[in-house]
Amino acid sequence: MIEPRFDELIHAPTRLSIVSLLAATEWADFKFIRDSVGLSDSALSKQLTTLEDAGYVEIRKSFIGKRPRTSARLNSVGRAAFERHVAALQEIVARAGASVRPQ
């Protein structure tokens, strides 16, 4: 049973999109996240740094041939925080009854 806990850091719209993507992946390529969420390189870097500083995300820099490649993943702390946040959102919706449902 997951204990619901609303997470202000995750709930910010852009970060919610990033964390939701990462929650479904093992690792996600920087460019994939950038293009999926529709951010500039610098804006995404800033958001990922915020999540990394919070201890939610792990950033990996590697090379494929001579090309640098940056990937990100949600670590176990981030995953647990995300699950609790989802549970909190579900609780808010459930309390409102059947009138409000996610699509």
Partner: protein, 160 residues
């Protein structure tokens, strides 16, 4: 819990979460060409075996092994270049579905080949594998859709 978050806002956030996760899962597809490639390689390999010629068997085996490895690597690396869906989204049901798919193809191919051999038909292995290959090409996309459905059901924010 924030007092100011309205239920409709929470519902919108849940929708966003579900859609973003669906975006990742929808990328986890096995392209149709993969099933055709594997099916073609299987039939070619069986034909080489059925020829009973050493050179044909050697070439057929090499082409089969290199072909399967190349096609599989291309699908896997192509997917990993962008993102890789979480392994645990598949779960035991997904693994069972994949094993069931392989078992079904074998369960169709092998008895067909043995039955044809017993009936004295020429190239029984090739014909048996051909039946399995047709099954694979037809049901491969179905397996992909099934695996996606399994992953979608297990993503965060799904109805519990």
């Amino acid at each position: 819990m924030p007092e100011n978050l309205r239920p409709d806002e929470a519902a919108r956030a849940l929708t966003e979460i579900r859609q973003r996760q669906e975006q990742v899962i929808k990328l986890a597809i096995i392209p149709a060409w993969y099933w055709w490639a594997i099916a073609g390689l299987m039939v070619g390999f069986s034909a080489a075996i059925d020829s009973h010629r050493r050179l044909a068997i050697a070439i057929g085996t090499s082409v089969f092994v290199i072909g399967v490895l190349t096609a599989t690597a291309r699908v896997v690396i192509g997917g990993m270049r962008r993102t890789q869906p979480r392994n645990d989204l598949l779960g035991p049901i997904g693994v069972l579905a994949i094993l069931g798919f392989v078992a079904t193809v074998l369960a169709v191919s092998l008895p067909t080949a043995f039955a044809l051999q017993a009936a004295g038909v020429r190239y029984p292995a090739t014909l048996g594998v051909l039946v399995g290959a047709i099954l694979m090409v037809l049901s491969g996309p179905w397996l992909t859709r099934l695996l996606q459905r399994i992953m979608l059901a297990k993503r965060a924010g799904s109805q519990r």
